[in-house]
């Protein structure tokens, strides 16, 4: 006898996600993932100035802010053959690394940790033993018995106040929580420390982009000018601020985040065998070290892995509009004028809701059930995200990535196969955060060296004026958002946006199944997951959170009476 359970809203994510799952004999036998919000950004972009598109796109997501702005300026630069100055690339890379560190830490502590950490159990911890545990793991200074004793008192008073706020109705005491009270108390401390820390690291975005969330970007470079002899530009003081912030961020990653992941993981090794799901991984790559046109120079290599075969990395070409990336709508609330899947440059999207009339209990999953379209690469369902990046980097023989992955597996005394799991996804995110900390400082030092050598350019005026543009131009802007491969496809005609499409990471991962019945990553990863109590879906959100869902961006199109409207669902 099976039971259908619904988790809606899935909380501690960005956006609106609904999971329905069929549970039989304590295990999930089938699952459906639905994005339940759309905004229609791509139609809104039509007819606008391509140089403005980054600002519209950045509002796709405020959690992984910056990534859509970056993909957008790159798409325009690709279409118009603009090559940004070296300093602009370095500043973008520094902002990228900043975003990774920020986003991954916030995800681990504020969005994911409460799946593994029992806050109520922390009340029973011995503060002295907690301190000993913390000091054994790391040299992070806030680890004294007094620190944990005060923390525990505060927590106790909080619970006794009766107003439990964000902790109300949590799954406390659930048997799937395995950490000893001391580890729980330590994690609660780091939850609060990370909350304090995260507002500091974003100041790098504020210096270069004026604000965070949603710092400013610019087609052709970056908006901030460098002038070491002027107060109103990037000067020694601003650079020192960036350098110190990067250094402190790296320390937090190394002294708190990584040790916590390594400390928690051994208690949850069963989750190294749960939640693996798909066996295919896709990465566009990012962090150029020799201009974005030189894909081989990327710190995160581009490529695809099929069937978990780490001996072969397949080339990926987002511009191949014949037989690589295509989007399908068999289970999505859209209409196509033709059969089959479409490359984003040739796509079309017409919103066509055919689900139940709200309020509803269940979606009709045999038909259409999501605002997300279903992207496929050469017909394969692909997982994108930190795990994919670490696997493609590892399999490509990238020294930095291989070293970081090997270190982590060594610390856990585990084989690479543990990576294909819920736990592996969470570990991969920590591993690449460590790399972002190292690389961020590397780019920073290169920026200093450039300025020292007299190069202060941050913007190229070439092709800024629309009068210099060709009548029609097409481009693709790729990036690796914290949650995975992200690309924007643009068509410029008569100096305006003729077409604009986004396929975002959560479109790959959270999409409904395709016409052949192949599940996408979320759905596939839930099959076989144990569910102790169907009324407390802790295990489901654990695996779903391991992908770091970001649904805000469910977008899409809208029937244009004269032309075929074509834009994609972007769910990131």
């Amino acid at each position: 006898m099976s039971e259908r359970i619904v988790v809606d809203p899935v909380t501690r994510i960005e956006g609106h996600l609904r999971i329905e799952a069929e549970v039989k004999d304590g295990k999930i036998v089938d699952a459906w993932s639905a994005g339940t919000m759309v905004r229609g950004l791509e139609i809104i972009l039509r007819g606008r100035d391509p140089r403005d598109a980054w600002a519209f796109c950045e509002r796709v997501c405020g959690v992984c802010t910056t990534v859509h702005a970056l993909a957008s300026v790159r798409s325009v630069e690709d279409a118009l053959d603009i090559h940004v100055p070296a300093n602009a690339e370095l500043i973008r890379n520094i902002m990228f690394c900043t975003q990774y560190m920020h986003d991954h830490v916030v995800h681990f502590y504020h969005l994911h940790a409460l799946d593994w950490v029992d806050v109520v159990s922390a009340l029973k911890a011995d503060p002295v033993a907690t301190s000993a545990l913390a000091q054994k793991l790391s040299k992070y200074p806030k680890s004294s018995p007094g620190y944990y004793s005060e923390l525990q008192k505060r927590l106790t008073k909080f619970v006794e106040s009766g107003q439990l706020g964000i902790f109300a109705n949590g799954y406390w005491g659930h048997p799937a929580f395995k950490l000893p009270p001391e580890a729980n108390l330590m994690a609660v401390g780091h939850y609060l420390e990370a909350l304090e820390w995260q507002k500091e690291i974003v100041k790098i975005h504020t210096i270069f982009g004026g604000k965070n969330p949603h710092p400013n970007y610019l087609v052709g470079g970056v908006p901030c000018a460098i002038n070491i002899d002027e107060a109103n530009a990037i000067n020694a003081e601003r650079l020192a601020f960036v350098g110190q912030t990067l250094q402190r961020a790296k320390e937090f990653i190394e002294q708190v985040y990584i040790p916590d992941v390594l400390a928690v993981a051994p208690f949850y090794l069963d989750w190294a065998g749960i939640g693996g799901g798909l066996e295919n991984y896709l990465v566009y790559g990012d962090l150029p070290t020799n201009g974005f046109a030189d894909v081989k120079s990327f710190k995160f290599p581009r490529g695809a892995i099929l069937g978990r075969n780490l001996n072969e990395v397949h080339p990926v070409d987002p511009k191949n509009d014949q037989d690589e990336i295509k989007e399908f709508i068999d289970h999505s609330w859209y209409e196509y004028s033709q059969q089959g899947g479409l490359h984003p440059w040739a796509g079309e999207t017409n919103l066509k809701y055919s689900g139940p009339k709200p309020p509803y209990e269940h979606l009709d999953v045999d038909k259409k059930y999501s605002w997300l379209k279903t992207p496929r690469w050469k017909g394969h369902a692909m997982e994108v995200g930190p795990l994919s990046r670490m696997l493609v980097g590892y399999a490509s023989g990238n020294d930095d990535i291989k070293g970081a992955v090997t270190d982590a597996l060594g610390a856990l005394k585990a084989p690479p196969s543990v990576l294909f799991s819920t736990l592996g996804r969470t570990a991969a995110r920590a591993i690449e955060s460590r790399l972002a900390g190292i690389w961020g400082l590397e780019f920073y030092n290169q920026l200093l060296a450039n300025i020292k050598a007299g190069d202060t350019r941050t913007f190229t005026r070439e092709k800024w004026e629309p009068s210099t543009w060709p009548k029609v131009a097409k481009g693709v802007g790729c990036t690796e958002a914290p949650r995975g491969a992200l690309a924007h496809w643009i068509v410029i005609g008569d100096q305006k946006i003729a077409n604009y499409q986004l396929v975002v990471p959560s479109t790959w991962n959270a999409s409904p199944r395709d016409g052949k019945g192949q599940r996408s990553a979320y759905e596939a990863s839930l099959i076989g997951t144990p569910v102790h109590d169907p009324h407390q879906p802790l295990e489901i959100i654990r695996t779903i959170h391991s992908f770091d869902p970001c649904l805000a961006c469910a977008v899409h199109l809208y029937e244009d009476k004269k032309e075929i409207a074509r834009h994609e669902l972007l769910v990131k």
């Binding site: 960005e14 139609i43 959690v63 006794e160 964000i166 109300a168 304090e196 504020t206 969330p213």
Partner: protein, 382 residues
């Protein structure tokens, strides 16, 4: 001990007690009150009142809903720079429902919402992030099987007041830009009969969000609002009037192109599209992320993100026509958001206001040839 027994005899403590329990001493607490008071423009007596209020009130239950949005408002909120502010707003208000931060999902999350509506009828504060799609009976945004429209009406009914976070909730933001495919509407168009505070911006500045909550918490009434429902404390001045680059504008010293010599000297960004002259926000005073910078300081023109319809006010990098009624005494009530559209013959107005004397001073100071600058900016002469 399980959570049930822990909460059997709930003792609702005051903000001050709670802060003490979090290791904050009285001196820090008073400092926080003074700082927050300064932020929201209080006289000394007001600070004393606020201090008293925080010492004696229990935590206000807050329900924070998300509709059509990108969560940048929540993200901004957690950036609140003063450490005690983060504590107070995450712990001192009781954040009973927040899809971004709450531990529970699905039915348990829904239960938290219903518990608050039932147990704190008429007392809870409703914060909304995002616009509400109204086309096709609202199917473009559903949560727990209900439409955003249904949820907004249901939860607002017994709320004490509503805070509309950010441009989405205040005026629809990007999804309401033309042609507004989902008929996205701001909160004040879908909820009636409740006081609504519009906290504008994409996102609003963290300390402004914190300041608005503290105001509501302390004085138990909504702050003074302008005719667009924005708190006057934060939205009564144009970015242009509080911009540290303003003297360059008055002197006719402009950036002509990004990364040109003038950009490297930090001149005015008006000619590359700055919306500071038609945007009411606190970016020039409070600045961003703990006062580190703001868009203009970092070289990009203001895009006007705290104004309604800013997405449709022309390409961002195109200079806007100037606008009538210069002078820092202007408020949004007097000038209105129609300034951009209504203005004509901007160059002439601009010229009248140009202060040649200042320009010479600044030009000389910056090693600039003022006469040459005049030739570069001919309209400032007319």
């Amino acid at each position: 001990m399980d959570i049930e027994s822990r909460t059997k005899s709930p003792k609702e403590e005051t903000i001050y007690e709670h802060m003490l329990s979090r290791g904050v001493n009285r001196r820090d607490f008073l400092q926080f009150c003074a700082w927050m008071g300064a932020c929201i423009g209080l006289e000394q007596t007001g600070v004393a009142q606020m201090t008293k209020a925080l010492e004696t009130k229990k935590r206000i239950p807050v329900v924070w809903l998300h509709f059509q949005e990108c969560t940048c408002c929540s993200e901004s909120f957690i950036r609140s720079s003063h450490p005690i502010v983060a504590d107070i707003l995450l712990d001192k208000v009781s954040l009973d429902y927040s899809e971004t931060l709450m531990a529970a999902s699905g039915h348990q999350a829904e239960k938290s919402l219903q518990d608050t509506i039932k147990n704190y009828k008429g007392e809870y504060l409703l914060c909304i992030e995002g616009s509400v799609p109204t086309a096709e009976d609202g199917v473009y945004c559903c949560i727990g099987g209900k439409t955003a429209l249904q949820i907004a009406e249901e939860v607002a009914k017994d709320a004490k007041a509503v805070v509309a976070w950010g441009n989405c909730a205040c005026s629809g933001c990007v999804q309401a830009a033309k042609p507004n495919p989902t008929s996205a509407k701001p909160i004040h168009k879908v909820i009636a009969g409740k006081p609504i505070v519009n906290v504008q911006g994409c996102p609003p500045i963290a300390e402004v969000m914190a300041g608005v909550l503290v105001h509501l918490l302390t004085f138990d009434r909504i702050p003074q609002l302008d005719n667009l429902g924005r708190p006057k404390a934060f939205y009564s001045r144009r970015v242009h009037d509080t911009c540290y680059r303003r003297p360059n504008y008055d002197a006719g010293l402009f950036v002509e192109s990004f990364d040109d010599e003038n950009a490297r000297k930090g001149y005015c960004l008006y000619k590359v599209g700055c919306r500071g002259p038609s945007t009411y926000n606190a970016c020039g005073t409070i600045r961003w992320n703990g006062g580190v910078s703001f868009p203009i300081q970092s070289g990009h023109p203001c895009i006007g993100c705290s104004e309604a319809n800013f997405w449709d006010n022309g390409p961002f990098y195109q200079r806007t026509p100037a606008f009538p009624g210069f002078g820092i005494e202007q408020t949004a009530d007097k000038l209105g958001i129609a300034a951009l559209a209504a203005s004509a013959g901007g160059a002439a107005v601009h010229a009248v206001m140009t202060n040649i004397r200042k320009r010479h001073e600044i030009g000389e100071h910056a090693g600039e040839n003022a006469e040459q600058a005049e030739k570069d900016n001919p309209e400032s002469k007319s």
